[in-house]
């Protein structure tokens, strides 16, 4: 049962099967790239004994920020561990920029992975921790110190660099691990919930850092649960559920393809009944519901362009006092709702 | 039709008394311990020796039963201080086995999943938590040691008459305090080990190790250096001297060797040298020291948060 038939075929954004790698629809600005410059998953599946990790995943990840989103246990961490060689796929092939994950020496020159394991060598300070593993790369003492300093500076942890990591709070430990994964200036960065436990200021800083790295041509694969942050920072999104790739591509692209859920808009104004009456005169208004505080109107429509123009006309003719107009489900939260929560149904 | 709103509601009922709240931890822990069949069987096995002792006492005072079994009363073991001394030693040994099974999960199960903050954010102080856990061990061990001991003592007193009772009255205090010292030492030691280690099996192993390894080491030292001071680090030897002290049967010299010694009097002559046991007060000191260390460890480890300097 191939995943694509589970939901309407167009959900899977037009990534043709990997037999002839073609450019994804992620962002038009990236020219079509050969597999040399992509992270490619071909029919990859992974089973822990009989427990399903991921099943027949086909993905091509282009430079920029790609976010993995999905409920706990949907295979996000499995995909990341497969991509970084910590796990071997049961079948299928993975290529990261032309090298395969089971040649560690070649691949990890250009790949950094900040995992979720919150563990540090006993008694090490932040600087020692990063220098500890940089030495293994084969850098000289001077290079190690220089790279460590830069990495700590990027996550603004310089002043706490020489304190013991075991005394750090969760957020500070997270920054140190992030610094460790970007210390050797990789071109591919895989991050498992990097913002977990960070305070709002740090979250904004780190998101700006990701944006900076992505604009410099780096590949960032980030898994996160905070959907509005994912909306804000990612170029393309991969939705995972129970080990299957449910949808993949740019958020708005994916949203437009969910035909069975028409666009919903909330218009807060003073006389919603009149607005509703006038809007129903046209056939593309599918449904309208008065907000329970009688100051707003929820409207569903299949053809948003015609609807908005009609809205302008009605408002000017009826001279309604508009408080605000906002699409209710044009973000990842809604897509998640339609594709995963309603379909999957959480078992308690 | 009435639709009932089951919303979250505050609790208006009366709250427990402080004592019944203190007994919550032991109650739950005891219910948890007696779930394991192994422990219940061992608990029952511990009562075999008291049964034998009771029969012995009964035979002492029953002429026709003796005649029936053709045993002369003099051949029977006399019921005196050494009888009760061996009784206390036997029961305390059984008590140790019981503790090795009961004590480790008491704290280590809470430590392994960081449940301490849940306990200590309730109207319960750290001391009450430790005392609650300790009361489980004290209760079980008392059932196995001094309670049957005193019962047998009064059974003997009732048969032997008032004169015997008046003469051996001091023995009640000896039996009770002998057992209590062992119970307190064991419970503190077991809980301290249980709070240091997260896994129950390792905690049991550590407790066994703490008991047998120093004893073995003490024996090696005694053999190698031909002294008796090795007994200081062996828990069992120290307790034996304390118990015999309590029952007035303490003997200092427990061995003699011929050796060459150069002292002001003898210059390198072959002479008999007495091997002396460490004095009683030293044994008591060792036990007190161990208890103090355990209390200090418990105070440091039983805490709602990790303090990292």
């Amino acid at each position: 049962m191939t995943p694509t038939t589970k939901s309407s075929p167009t959900i899977q954004s037009p990534t043709t099967p990997a037999s002839h790698p073609a450019s994804t629809a992620s962002t038009a600005s990236i020219p079509s790239l050969s597999s040399e410059k992509m992270i490619v998953f071909e029919e990859v599946s992974k089973f822990y004994g009989e427990i399903l990790g991921v099943n027949r995943v086909n993905l091509q990840i282009a430079p920029g920020i790609t976010s993995l989103v999905g409920p706990n246990g949907s295979g996000k961490t499995t995909l990341m561990n497969l991509m970084t060689g910590l796990l071997k796929p049961t079948q299928g092939r993975i290529q990261v920029l032309g090298t395969s994950p089971d040649e560690p020496e070649a691949m990890f020159q250009k790949l950094g992975y900040c995992s979720q394991f919150d563990s540090f060598p006993r008694g090490a300070t932040a600087r020692e921790f990063i220098e500890f593993y940089l030495r293994v790369h084969g850098y000289t003492k001077y290079e190690t110190a220089e790279l460590t300093h830069q990495a700590l500076e990027r996550v603004s942890m310089l002043e706490a660099a020489d304190r013991k990591v075991s005394a750090f709070s969760k957020g500070m430990r997270q920054r140190v691990r992030l610094a460790q994964s970007i210390a050797h200036n990789p071109s591919v960065l895989v991050l498992d919930e990097p913002l977990n436990g960070l305070d709002p200021m740090a979250r904004a800083e780190i998101i700006r850092l990701f944006r900076q790295l992505a604009d410099a041509g780096m590949y960032l694969v980030i898994s996160s649960h905070i959907l509005h942050e994912v909306d804000m920072m990612s170029d393309s999104v991969v939705l995972l559920h129970n080990g299957y790739v449910v949808a993949e591509g740019e958020v708005h692209g994916v949203r437009d393809e969910i035909e069975e859920h028409p666009i919903q808009i909330l218009i807060r104004c003073d006389r919603p009944q009149i607005l509703a009456a006038r809007l129903f005169e046209h056939e593309f208004t599918v449904e309208a519901r008065i907000h329970n505080d009688r100051q707003g109107l929820f409207v569903k429509t299949r053809r948003p362009d015609d609807f908005y123009l009609l809205l302008n006309k009605v408002i000017t003719e009826q001279n309604l006092q508009i408080e605000s107009v906002a699409p209710v489900d044009d973000d990842l939260n809604a897509v998640y709702q339609y594709l995963i929560t309603s379909e999957g149904g959480q078992t308690r | 039709m009435a639709v009932y709103e089951h919303l979250y509601g505050a609790y208006e009922g009366e709250s427990q008394s402080a004592l019944s709240r203190f007994l919550v931890i032991p109650r739950y822990a005891l219910r948890e311990t007696f779930k394991s069949k192994l422990l219940t069987t061992i608990f029952i096995l511990c009562f075999i020796y008291p049964l034998v002792a009771t029969i012995l006492v009964y035979l002492h005072h029953n002429a026709n039963a003796l005649a029936l079994l053709q045993i002369n009363v003099r051949e029977l073991l006399p019921i005196d201080a050494s009888f009760f001394l061996t009784f206390v030693q036997m029961q305390c040994a059984f008590g140790f086995i019981l503790t090795v099974l009961v004590a480790p999960p008491l704290i280590s199960r809470d430590m392994s999943n960081n449940a301490l903050p849940l306990y200590l954010c309730r109207p319960l102080s750290r001391a009450e938590y430790v005392l609650g856990k300790m009361s489980v061990v004290v209760f079980l061990l008392s059932l196995v040691t001094w309670i049957p001991g005193l019962l047998i003592f009064f059974f003997q007193a009732s048969l032997a008459g008032f004169a015997w009772l008046w003469a051996n009255l001091w023995m009640i205090q000896a039996i009770f305090s002998g057992c209590m010292v062992w119970i307190i030492l064991l419970s503190l030691l077991a809980l301290a080990v249980s709070s240091l280690v997260k896994w129950r099996v390792v905690a049991s192993g550590a407790l066994l190790g703490l008991f047998f390894v120093p004893t073995a080491f003490g024996e090696i030292i005694n053999e190698l250096f031909l002294t008796r001071s090795g007994h200081l680090i062996s828990l069992w030897a120290t307790m034996k001297s304390i118990w015999s002290g309590l029952f007035g049967l303490f003997v200092r010299q427990t061995g003699q060797i011929r050796g060459r010694v150069t002292t002001p009097i003898y210059d390198n002559e072959l002479v008999d040298i007495a091997l002396l046991e460490p004095p009683l007060w030293v044994s008591w000191l060792v036990i007190a020291l161990i208890c103090a260390v355990c209390v200090w460890l418990l105070a440091r480890k039983v805490r709602a948060y990790e303090v990292i300097k």
Binding site: Y48, N81, T84, G85, L86, L87, K88, D102, E103, P104, E105, A106, M107, F108, Q109, K110, L111, G112, Y113, S115, F117, S119, F120, P121, R122, F132, Y133, R135, V136, H137, G138, Y139, E143, E146, L147, Q150, Q180, N185, P186, S187, L213, A216, G217, M218 | K198, W199, L224, F225, L226, I257, G259, R260, V261, L270, I273
Partner: protein, 298 residues
């Protein structure tokens, strides 16, 4: 294995800021050695300074402490034999106490924890994520464990020999060591200690990798090595202890029931031990390549 020079420009090209690091690599061999040295220096710090090393110091120091205590507080008996039996008694001490128990369990503790310790500390993935061949990792860790055990147990061997001899018969021992057979005996003992660390180290590295809970296999191995003196000659060959005992300068008397077999000469037992170690390292690195990271609950 594409040479590393090609990769460096490629990664330098997409380097984020100016390429401060010009990692000119002479050849992969020089990189491997540098990486092995790096892993070794990191691991040695762990093996010598961490809390885990405490047990190793304890084991290595035990005979020294015991013998010096005996020297300082001599028991008041007088049946101390003559000087001639000294080497016999020391052989018993070395063979029984030092070789068969302390070195065995010391190597077990250090080498089993080389990888298992990282799994328990959940830090193995940092090594797997570094651009270093898995073989380099295995060799680096093995050598660091070797250095730790060899250094400590050599001190034990030499120290215990000196204390034992000089405590009772200082004058004869001095003569015995400086012009007698003493010096060559001590070197032979040292050689056996080093070979023991190499042999046992390799075995326990393998056990630590292949078994999730290696304590039982280690104890089974101890049993097998212990009953070695009862085994027929053919079975004796399949054990480390046989080659070691055949190299010991003064043969320890293994009790009345021992099946005596002529010791295999040095020029066979030494290379066979080293060959055995090489095979084990190869097996270990092949297993490491396929090893997956799954820090299941404890």
């Amino acid at each position: 294995m594409s040479s590393t020079t090609e990769i460096t420009e490629q990664s330098a090209a997409t380097n984020v800021n100016q390429p401060i690091v010009n990692r000119a690599r002479a050849s992969s061999w020089s990189l491997w050695t540098r990486q092995t040295l790096a892993v070794m220096s990191l691991e040695i710090k762990k093996n010598f300074l961490s809390r885990r090393a405490l047990l190793l110091y304890l084991m290595a120091g035990l005979p020294l402490v015991l013998l010096s205590a005996l020297a300082l507080f001599p028991p008041p008996t007088d049946e101390l034999g003559s000087f001639s039996e000294m080497s016999q008694v020391y052989a018993a001490i070395y063979g029984g106490l030092i070789l068969r128990t302390l070195i065995f369990f010391g190597c077990a503790w250090v080498f089993m924890n080389l990888f298992r310790g990282e799994v328990v500390d959940r830090s193995l993935h940092y090594y797997f994520l570094a651009p270093v061949r898995r073989e380099v990792l295995v060799v680096g860790k093995y050598l660091s464990g070797l250095i730790a055990t060899i250094v400590l147990f050599s001190i034990t061997t030499v120290g215990s020999m000196f204390i034992y001899y000089f405590w009772l018969f200082p004058s004869e021992s001095a003569r015995f060591f400086f012009d007698g057979a003493g010096a060559s005996q001590m070197l032979a003992y040292l050689g056996v200690t080093i070979l023991a660390c190499i042999g046992y180290g390799a075995v326990f590295l393998l056990i630590g990798l292949f078994f999730r809970n290696p304590i039982i296999p280690a104890l089974m191995l101890y049993g097998w090595e212990w009953i070695n003196f009862l085994l027929p000659p053919f079975l004796k060959k399949i054990s480390v202890i046989h080659y070691l005992t055949s190299l010991v300068p003064v043969p320890m008397s293994e009790g009345p029931f021992a099946v005596l077999v002529e010791p295999t000469p040095a020029w066979i037992s030494v290379p066979s031990l080293l060959l055995f170690t090489g095979v084990v390292l190869f097996l270990a690195s092949r297993h490491i390549r396929r090893m997956e990271i799954s820090y299941a609950g404890d």
